[in-house]
């Protein structure tokens, strides 16, 4: 059995000094309390602040993924017709190869291939006039062929390979050099063909 814990609370009378202090402090607190405006004003100010910050961030380009209107985009250059990185060097190589006409073409092998015997590993056979390239797009080819990304000493031999190799006038689009006896193929696998027909 729990006894009653309730205490008869006496009613206390405030001292006059304390009462005066309470009134004075409450008046000071009311005077220093911030008078808040309505909530819509706060919301409007917050929205304006966010808009200004976002605009400044956009103009200065600090927003990730959003380019500043004042910064120039890097110009995109069209891909060169040839894979050569330096067109001047390529032109020089072309001149050299003009002088060193490939004997395989000159000695009538092209006839054996019906003008379409040299292929640069392309997936779609282009209109080929006996010139070969490793490029994916057909181009006006004047007998100089390269699939390389850099110009190389071209002696009239053409390849679609990424590395120069000892070329003896045989042309291939293969990734590996093969025993070529003047016959040219666009195949990816080496083959042996001596019948002048392109496989």
């Amino acid at each position: 059995m729990l006894p009653d814990l309730r205490i008869d609370v006496p009613e206390l009378e405030p001292p006059a000094v304390l009462l005066e202090q309470l009134a004075q402090l409450s008046r000071q607190g009311a005077a220093s309390a911030p008078h808040d405006g309505p909530g819509i004003v706060k919301a409007f100010l917050a929205a304006v602040s966010v808009s200004v910050l976002a605009s400044v961030a956009w103009l200065t380009g600090t927003l990730p993924g959003v380019a500043s209107p004042f910064t120039r985009e890097p110009e995109t250059r069209p891909a060169p017709q040839h894979a050569a990185a330096e067109p001047g060097t390529l032109a020089l190589a072309d001149e050299d190869t003009e002088a060193d006409a490939p004997p395989a073409v000159a000695d009538g092998h092209a006839g054996a291939h019906h003008g379409k015997a040299q292929h640069g590993g392309r997936t779609t056979p282009p209109q080929d006039n006996g010139h070969h390239t490793g490029q994916t797009k057909p181009h006006q080819n004047n007998g100089h062929h390269t699939g390389q990304t850099k110009p190389h000493q071209n002696n009239g031999h053409h390849t679609g390979q990424t590395k120069p190799h000892q070329n003896n006038g045989h042309h291939t689009g293969q990734t590996k050099p093969h025993q070529d006896n003047g016959h040219h193929s666009g195949q990816t696998k080496p083959h042996v063909h001596g019948n002048g027909h392109r496989s």
């Binding site: 729990l2 205490i7 609370v9 206390l12 309470l22 009134a23 402090l25 607190g29």
Partner: protein
């Protein structure tokens, strides 16, 4: 003057409003501070109560509520003021000594022995249970006001009170049994 009008007048610094609020809450605030946990013997409950009223007057401009919730708000301030006093007394590292001879006088307040008995009875409870029982069962705050004053949920207040009363019943029956045997 209605309750809310009393609070509004107190915010403006009206002395009559503060007198009304003081009469309504000061007595039970002192009783609660005497019976609650962690009271520093070097600091009187009246001192904590006076500081609580001054703090309330400073902060009353921020108070939103009527006179009914004013008690809970005031008790919450008192809880924080008492905690500050406790921290300061902990830094002082004072050691309480026995009262000087002749210090005890028969006060005019007949409830003082009863308060001492209740404080001794509640001493066996945990601090939280002591606070809850002192608020609800000693000074008569509601569960909602107690929860607001102590910073607890009403569920936690009910659970703490249930445990405290169960423990008090067990202790009381043991004491009565021992007194009967003696």
């Amino acid at each position: 003057m209605t309750d809310d009008a009393v609070v509004a007048a107190a915010k403006r610094g009206d002395q009559d409003a503060w007198r009304s609020l003081y009469r309504a809450h000061a007595g039970r605030l002192v009783v609660w501070l005497e019976t609650r946990s962690g009271s520093d013997s070097a600091v009187a409950a009246e001192d904590v109560a006076a500081q609580t009223w001054l703090t309330a007057a400073e902060k009353v401009a921020d108070y939103t509520g009527g006179a009914e919730e004013f008690g809970a708000w005031l008790f919450g301030i008192a809880r924080r003021v008492a905690a500050n006093y406790r921290r300061r007394s902990g830094r002082r590292r004072t050691d309480p000594v026995a009262d000087a001879p002749g210090a005890e006088v028969d006060g005019p307040d007949a409830t003082v022995p009863e308060r001492a008995w209740i404080a001794d009875l509640l001493a066996g409870l945990s601090p939280r249970e002591r606070d809850v029982v002192a608020c609800i069962d000693v000074v008569g705050l509601s569960s909602a006001d107690t929860a607001r004053a102590l910073g607890m949920t009403q569920v936690a207040v009910r659970v703490a009170r249930h445990r405290a009363l169960r423990r008090l019943r067990a202790e009381t029956s043991t004491t009565l049994l021992a007194a009967t045997i003696a």
